[in-house]
């Protein structure tokens, strides 16, 4: 086996040094009644070439671009990724290292993540960002727990918009179940934004959480939510699934959000069936000691040279044990590095152009569908996705489209029973006018 370098001679020599007669002897400290006597029932080992054939055949059974035209967003977005980003990520000095516990020989990871923290803070308009969380959903759960922690557990209710991604809300519920903390969902208005009026009825609110652009693709009034939260001496938590939108639209920080978190997959990370993505997490400086996750800080070495280290570790589980701000240990470091490469590649000039292009594409598809007679129930402006109401019996059209290798959005009725026949569609820079025209032609024929 090519990953196992010990030859029979090596094994014999080493066993002699150890004083064991054979390999089984090495496990003498495991009591007889704990040992598994049989053979593992696994498929016979494959050669590299057999494995490649097997995996290629499985990959070919997936409805992915370029074979398929996929108009799905909802937290996972198709975007072009420069070849240079893939190439750089292939540097195994990044990928085969671990958490930079030994800073002297980990400066590559450390500087890259320091740059990630900085670019993230700039993108979101916040003062400080951590080194990443697992994904947008767990980041939101941790943000809400952090808000309650900041309130020292005195306020234990969070108000969560119903227009936050339904999966994210489910993850929050899972994290909250054993805590006894309360989650109150805020309804939405006819224009596709969150109805904040319900907040006044709620007592003990630690945080108000919105997503912008929200699950319907609409831009929320974050400033109004922040004002409301601050009037109640609560925190304004903003989450997102499509950070590219902040290349064009106002970021949450400029609208006085206190904690901002979400999914960074759009920033140069392949969709990969939803993971690994990138949980982005940022806040105001004054809350940094309540933040979950790792932080990289700048410092100097013995000779006064600039360098970077893991810092403020006293918040973390390996020092503080059960009183830690979170249990997170491994994060999404390589994805954070990848997004840094991407953000550096698009730059300030590029991200604006790219965001504008996303808006234009989605607006084009929207207007063509409108022209074809379909209703867009939510008027609030959006970015690169939107909800459309298709007529009764659209399921068969949807299947017909699949036959033509077009996936026409996601039905959202399972999450919003009042929205039967409504679909969430997405168009990005990867969708050509011809793709969109084909979709419109097929749904109307």
């Amino acid at each position: 086996m090519r990953y196992l370098p010990h030859t029979n001679e090596d094994v014999t020599e080493m066993l002699q040094v150890v004083g064991a007669a054979n390999l089984d002897d090495l496990f003498s400290s495991i009591p007889e009644e704990c040992r598994f006597k049989g053979e593992l029932n696994l498929p016979p080992d494959m050669t590299e070439w057999e494995l490649t054939d097997h995996m290629t055949a499985l990959a070919d059974r997936m409805a992915s671009p370029p074979g398929y035209r996929i108009f799905l967003g909802a937290g996972s977005y198709p975007h072009f990724i420069p070849t240079s980003v893939h190439y750089l990520l292939g540097r195994s000095e990044f990928s085969t290292a671990y958490t930079p516990y030994q800073p002297e020989i980990s400066q590559g990871t450390l500087q890259a993540i320091f740059e990630y923290q900085t670019l993230t803070a700039r993108l979101l308009g916040m003062e400080v960002a951590n080194a990443s969380m697992y994904d947008g959903a767990s980041a939101l759960a941790e943000a809400l727990l952090m808000a309650i922690r900041i309130e020292r557990g005195k306020k234990t209710t969070v108000a969560v918009s119903k227009l936050i991604h339904p999966h994210y809300r489910k993850v929050v519920q899972t994290y909250f179940k054993p805590t006894g903390y309360r989650i109150i969902e805020l309804p939405y208005l006819p224009d596709g934004s969150t109805d904040l009026s319900a907040v006044d009825e709620i007592e003990n609110v630690a945080a108000i959480a919105l997503q912008s652009p929200n699950f319907f693709g609409c831009i929320e009034n974050i400033k109004a939510a922040s004002d409301k939260a601050h009037a109640l001496k609560a925190l304004s938590v903003v989450c997102f699934t499509e950070p590219l939108a902040y290349g064009l639209f106002k970021n949450p920080g400029s609208q006085e959000a206190d904690i901002v978190c979400g999914e960074g997959q759009s920033l140069g990370i392949p969709q990969s069936f939803g993971g690994p993505g990138l949980g982005m997490f940022a806040s105001l400086n004054k809350y940094v000691r309540n933040m979950p996750g790792r932080l990289i800080g700048q410092t100097t070495d013995q000779d006064g040279k600039r360098g970077f280290v893991l810092t403020l570790a006293t918040r973390e589980q390996h020092i503080r044990r059960e009183r830690a701000t979170s249990n997170i240990c491994s994060n999404q470091g390589l994805c954070a590095t990848m997004s840094t490469m991407y953000m550096a590649s698009v730059g300030g000039t590029g991200i604006r152009k790219l965001a504008r292009l996303n808006l234009n594409k989605a607006e084009y598809l929207k207007s063509e569908l409108k022209k074809a007679g379909f209703r867009m129930p939510f008027e609030r402006p959006g970015f690169n996705e939107f909800v459309v109401e298709f007529p009764k019996g659209f399921e068969s059209t949807y299947q017909k489209l699949v036959g033509k290798k077009i996936v026409a959005g996601i039905p959202i009725e399972c999450h919003y029973p009042e929205l039967a026949g409504h679909y969430l569609l997405c168009a990005t820079e990867t969708h050509s006018k011809a793709d969109m025209d084909a979709l419109v032609k097929e749904v109307t024929s």
Binding site: C34, R35, L51, I70, S95, G274, I328, I351
Partner: protein, 484 residues
């Protein structure tokens, strides 16, 4: 000694990204617009982020230089204890990047995602077989996330029985994340002291286990690299009081094909695919922390579950006892695919991998125990733990020796962990390190021990070969500079 692995070379300085910016440069090819510009409502428009403008060559050179300041498994021996820094096969990178996988949307209708669902279904089966468990969830994104998932399962299990338990037992030789994971579920951690032989005694558990206690979190093999030989009896005690046994499987690399955790009283175990199953550690992640459980915990697993109907795979959501979702989608699928590929490549050799991992650790233990203090002199599993006790007279610490190892071209072992051993040096060589490298490592350590006695200043000044020397961590924490 023979020639050192570590040497110096030309290393380039490189500023921070924004120190290189030149407005007007761009490192991405913007697609041509084939649609009209949509009107923009100024009420919503912002300024856009202050990102640096760089060309493609600027970006490539920047990250290439940064990469050269890093030490990875591909660079050299990385014996970081409890982290299983084994070799990461290159074919897995190519497979994960196949467009069918890399471009797959997580909310595709299941009939359009059969390839991936089959991989997930089969990987669950493989992990069940390796652990001796009945069902697996692949959703947790890392080991600690798996621990949390397991604690949520425990909570849901007890709740279903109409019980609310408030405590959890955690031995002092368990992994560091365990107490924090339990705390997220509202469990108070009750520490259990391990015996003088480094393993849990049945009596210690018996004395603490009661009907208020949800169960115990056992890392097995434990962080001293020792097999918890009383595990069956410990499990009986815990089960006797209605509790559950959680196995932290971070150290599974020692016992694949040798111990089936489901057969020795463990009710739930998480695996670290980035450790045992060879997926790259990525400078801190992404990992993957599937949780395997016995039958009685299966109803509580996160949704959706991948199920098989005939030849087709589907996703099942309707499971009333499920704890819900722990990840937005299906976990770190890109990592799952690498672990699946690894298991298919290894097959029966997985057992050999564990045997060789244990052999290598014992070999290092035997060859270094004359010069380094070995607190538990008994056969170890896949890692061995020394201390700096022999160097105390020279005022040389574990940290000094670790830093000096860098100058010799090795990544240091895990240091000052586990906490039960003062000045711990925890060495996990893994099965993929050739014997010649193990010998070179042993030789380097012996030279360092000699230096500690004769020229201790070399150690206190170490490292001198890397790009930077010891860093001022105190100032970094006192006056944090977290954003440039």
């Amino acid at each position: 000694m023979t020639e050192r692995a570590g040497t110096t070379g030309l290393i380039m300085n490189e500023p921070l990204l924004w120190e290189k910016t030149k407005p007007g440069r761009m490192g991405i090819s913007i697609p041509k617009s084939d649609v009209a510009a949509a009107p923009l409502d100024p009420e919503f428009v912002g300024e856009g982020p202050n990102f640096p403008d760089l060309s493609e060559v600027d970006v490539v050179r920047h990250f290439t230089r940064l990469s050269q300041w890093n030490f990875g498994v591909d660079t050299g021996m990385y014996p970081l204890g409890s982290c299983t820094m084994k070799y990461n096969p290159k074919i897995h990178e190519k497979i994960a990047a196949l467009p069918g996988f890399a471009g797959a949307h997580p909310m595709l209708p299941p009939d359009l995602a059969q390839g991936i669902l089959r991989i997930m279904y089969e990987l669950e089966q493989f992990l069940c077989e390796i652990t001796g468990m009945d069902a697996t969830t692949l959703q947790p994104a890392a080991g600690a996330h798996g621990e949390l998932t397991a604690m949520l399962l425990f909570y849901a299990y007890h709740k279903r029985k109409g019980e609310k338990r408030t405590k959890i037992l955690i031995p002092d030789t368990a992994h560091g994340t365990n107490p924090a994971s339990a705390a997220l579920c509202g469990y108070a951690s009750i520490p259990v002291t391990s015996g003088h032989d480094g393993v849990l005694s049945v009596e210690a558990v018996e004395a603490l286990m009661d009907e208020e206690t949800a169960g115990i979190m056992v890392t097995n093999p434990n962080t001293l690299g020792l097999f918890e030989e009383n595990i069956r009896k410990v499990a009986e005690v815990v089960h006797g009081k209605g509790g559950l046994v959680y196995g932290d499987g971070a150290n599974m690399n020692a016992v694949m094909g040798i111990v089936k955790m489901g057969e020795i009283g463990i009710d739930a175990i998480h695996l670290n695919l980035h450790k045992t199953f060879s997926t790259p550690h990525g400078g801190g992640g992404p990992g993957s922390g599937p949780v395997c459980v016995r039958k009685h915990l299966e109803p509580f697993l996160p949704v959706p579950r991948v199920i098989k109907n005939g030849d087709d795979y589907a996703l099942q959501y309707n499971r009333p006892d499920s704890i819900g979702k722990i990840h937005a989608f299906h976990g770190n699928f890109g990592i799952l695919i690498r672990a699946y590929s690894y298991i298919l490549s290894m097959g029966r050799h997985l057992k050999t991998a564990s045997q060789h991992a244990v052999l290598s650790a014992n070999y290092i233990k035997e060859r270094l125990k004359d010069v380094l203090h070995l607190p538990y002199d008994r056969p170890c599993m896949h890692e061995c733990v020394f201390t700096d006790k022999n160097q105390e007279d020279f005022k040389i610490t574990t940290l000094d020796m670790a830093k000096r190892l860098m100058d010799y071209g090795f990544h240091p072992p895990t240091i000052y962990f586990p906490l039960v051993v003062h000045g711990a040096i925890m060495i996990e060589p893994t099965e993929t390190e050739p014997k010649e490298n193990l010998d070179q490592f042993i030789e380097a350590f012996k030279v360092i021990v000699k230096e500690a006695a004769e020229t201790p200043e070399l150690l206190r000044e170490a490292p001198t070969a890397p790009k930077v020397r010891r860093l001022d961590e105190a100032t970094a924490a006192r006056k944090p500079c977290l954003c440039g």
